[in-house]
Chain length 341, copies 4
């Protein structure tokens, strides 16, 4: 829409699109952008002509990608997602850290204090765990959520935790500041839609059977299309080519600038899952900052060798603290800063 258009003018465009059977999506701060969803190829040109003729419409831009709401064409302004008061996608890097699984009050609180004191702002911890085998520890469920909420109250950190089951969506929303959709569920469309029906920020990990960047943005589109604009993408590694004794996945840092060129959504990097080995986490975390990520997700444990899950990739406290001290000059070199600065 032209700068300075009225509410009535906007509504007129929306009504017209609705009457033609299209969905709509409104965005923009200084200038309003109205998106039409579901336009068929054969109708595109005539619609562009009709709308372009309206005096208060500045420009009609076709979004030819399969994802629309997630695309830079649709929304040129970068999105900032606010999680419990922490902005992701702005100048400050968002560091999320914590244990793979919530194991005990003591484990969680000890970790949370270290997370906070080192300058990270979001606490992660799993209450529902997706496990390859049905006989492995599956998480404490609501008990774990309660511990996370208690840790938030004590430490003033926002919390992010994974949701696996659509049935648990409401419950997890009661406790969490941000919902995590894990890599195995990137193409679990039921779960994506349910997360889209909430307004909670969603951390969408890259994965699924075809973990392409296009499919990742289409997965984000499922959430956005339900009306939830608060999506943060998380790169966490592709399946490896051999060398499975040396690492767990192949962290694809190139995905960060690629996504930045296609989408307005923030992107963070998880070098813990992305490498699977604690010794590899600090160099890859540093590289992630340098490549332009909006934040990091790090696994951290008071005693990694005793962790119930993901021990080999969990940092111990001193290594995490050292890494956090290494980040500010790297952030500065790419025009960013750590939140704590």
């Amino acid at each position: 829409m032209k700068h300075g258009c009225t509410e009535d003018e906007k509504q007129h465009v929306i009504d017209r699109l609705t009457a033609l059977g299209y969905g709509t999506n409104v965005s923009g701060v200084e200038q309003t952008v109205i998106g039409a969803i579901g336009v068929l190829d054969r109708d595109r040109e005539s619609l562009m002509e009709q709308l372009g003729a309206l005096p208060y419409v500045e420009r009609v831009v076709p979004v030819l990608k399969r994802y629309k709401l997630a695309s830079l064409e649709f929304r040129a302004q970068r999105t900032t997602v606010t999680v419990g008061g922490v902005a992701i996608g702005g100048e400050a890097l968002a560091v999320m850290a914590g244990p793979c699984s919530v194991e005990s009050r003591q484990q969680l609180f000890a970790t949370a204090r270290v997370v906070r004191d080192a300058g990270a702002t979001i606490l992660r911890g799993g209450a529902y765990k997706p496990r390859t085998s049905p006989y492995e520890f599956q998480g404490f469920g609501e008990e774990g959520l309660k511990l996370l909420a208690a840790a938030r109250d004590e430490c003033g950190l926002a919390i992010v935790t994974e949701v696996l089951d659509p049935h648990d969506m409401d419950l997890v929303c009661c406790y969490a500041d941000m919902l995590q959709i894990g890599a195995r569920n990137m193409q679990n469309y039921t779960l994506l839609r349910e997360a889209g029906r909430t307004r909670k920020p969603v951390l969408l990990k890259r994965g699924g059977m075809y973990p392409t960047i296009e499919n990742w943005l289409l997965a984000a589109e499922y959430i956005l299309a339900e009306g939830n604009p608060n999506v943060v993408l998380c790169e966490r590694g592709l399946p490896p080519y051999g060398d499975t004794n040396l690492r767990r996945n192949v962290l694809d840092l190139t995905a960060v600038p690629i996504v930045k060129g296609l989408s307005h959504l923030p992107v963070i990097v998880d070098p813990s899952h992305g490498t699977g080995k604690a010794a590899l986490v600090p160099p890859l975390a540093r590289a992630a900052v340098t490549v332009g990520a909006d934040g990091l997700m790090l696994e951290l444990h008071p005693e990694p060798e005793r962790a119930w899950s993901d021990g080999p990739q969990s940092l111990d406290f001193p290594t995490f603290q050292a890494l956090m001290r290494d980040l500010p000059p790297l952030a500065a070199a790419v025009g960013r800063r750590l939140r704590s600065a």
Copy 2:
């Protein structure tokens, strides 16, 4: 247990395992096999000694694989799964065929008659479709299920259809003879467990972020561990290495004899998704029979070029009929027969 053991003796073993905190699973026709689930490494030896000392226990065998109930060690006798009167896993090959999506009564019924007349016994058709984009056709839902049920009534075919959402599980069970878990959901543990809580036969397609054979059997284990023994595995192709213009996936026929060497569960092959091109379906279907598959799943459409989804990989009627005529000598060459024979 020894041949001829009494019910009391079996119960004694079960009670003892239960008292120790283990799950149990009983199988076997001529001879009873009692499985203990959840035994820790450190307790294995002493448990084997205790149980082995009982006079009516013939042998105690440790199952060291991460999957237990799915393993040949656990159950040496091959499983036959019965779907609406059709046995999968016996001498006869089970051919499932039908459209990707249920599109109309006419489309479905015309297809169902061709399926039946050609000697196939199970009708496939999607009422809920997992689509990469939220803007693509998502299936007719319950309306589609009703049409499938009507086609079953008219043609005497069993029906298999995909379930995507745990919320739909009861509804799909009302109509379907067999539940399909699609490739994208192979590691959707919530859905696997829900399917395990029904007693419906489940067709578990291979896929997920790490589509290894071990992970496939662990996914089956999620269903089996909930008490549903009726699992049929379906190979449908791995993500391709380039050449995406030439085909959709890389059908892994070697997986069939590998699984047969590891598990007692039946395995069928879907060359439609496995290749993505109709012209490639007949040769790969023939090869699947020769490699030892227990059946086939084939996509079929009255007018593939007008199909709402998966048109390029759908067979037209004459090609399907010709393929069905080609199968009997191949089946015979590997000691099998087509059901219709």
Copy 3:
């Protein structure tokens, strides 16, 4: 060219193309096809017009694929490659079998006799071995070639053996009936060109860093473009997705009908490397015949457990003999026969 054109007319077209700076390639039995190589996009149309105007030219067909000589557009008639009297690509299946490495006169001759008696016609055996480590057995070199030639003389089999080093090309040509280019060398363009400068039949295995079907045909094009038309393609498996304990590669049988739809060259299948496990070789060999392969390459050893290389994937004699007995009905079912029939 039109049916019945004269030699002068053919020469005229060739001269004209040569004068314009293009390479040429003549093929066809009943009808002559003259290929122009190196035509730029911008010159294509005018050249087609000029040549199409000649009265003895029937049709000018642009070959838009990156490979030309290998394409079906260029040569619609299927190629038959004759190796020491054995035709590959005709009605009869060509079975090549033998040890991974030539280890001794006794090992090779014992194997050769079993190969011949079971009805296979080509003996394989490695004298130069590509090994991942420099410390592994690298083959007997010329000594091995001499043993292969002696086995040929005694058993009346043609022989195929791998060439690794351009320096060895002449030497290997002195002894072998067919040169094998191994999977690791599919994009070793120096070696491909050297093989193209001989007129020996070449068995080109699929592999290289990007083992796509297009790259495989482009590798064949390197040989064909040097003037050697005797290329046989061999599918032998893609790198695996995990499960490396269960098999060595992922045999891509779909590649056979795909290549048949793109190229006139014969295609055989090597289920020994394609699976890496002897127990998987017979079912995959059967499937390869059914899917339309022109032949098989099988590793065979008198005592697989003592083989110096590739023991786990080598068949013992009884298994090989049983497999050979299983093939005729499968071959018949797809309109082929075994040579021995």
Copy 4:
């Protein structure tokens, strides 16, 4: 050997190993390390005992990896490779830059001056090009080598260029300061051995059919085992998972710290091939420095849109110059510096 051992004592150990049929390799600056090559498992223990009993032997360490000379166990001190006066592997980062192919004197010299003025120290340029199709430009051969040498003389840069054909090895050695073995040839053992027989520094790109890190180190071992210790590894990306329109390969930056943990050899990163898109090169180059690489290889062209090969991934001069200005603070943050500093 113990600190301060005599030459006679060293020779005694070497003679003893030679007499037992083993190869030997001597390294170490402050302390001498004598490596025994080719020790069988069954002889290891007795040999360790014998040698350990010698008074001037400090310790006998078994190297159990399949690669020996390349391993950190074998040589704990990091290797520095000197290329035309430029050290790779020390505190200073080595930046190699230049065109994909040498196209003309003007193109090469213009580029070389920009390379030098921006603070890079090694000029790259291809005279022999490995091309997927035989019809693509294959490089100027010796003419290109001469131009590279002339550019070196004028600009004072060392030069690195690819060798494809063992027949060209001597010729390339006459002109180049460093030989490049390209990704497609990582498992071309003939070429690796020939490069090992020279004493020229070798840049070994990661690739081949199974581009695992173990195979990469084994490829280096082929060169080292021939007696050439001057090997620099170069990470340049794994084949992609789909998204082939978005990039060419998946740059595996994690490989850098993994290799640093396994081997004493220097490792550089090529983000040009590693991404395939010029816009992605600067962020990945920055990340490569941060992750601990010993240098960079960058493709650069006066007019990328007119490059004869690899145009889309070639930087133009201003982008290259800006990138070079961005590197010093990142290098400083990880304890390194640019050579020009």
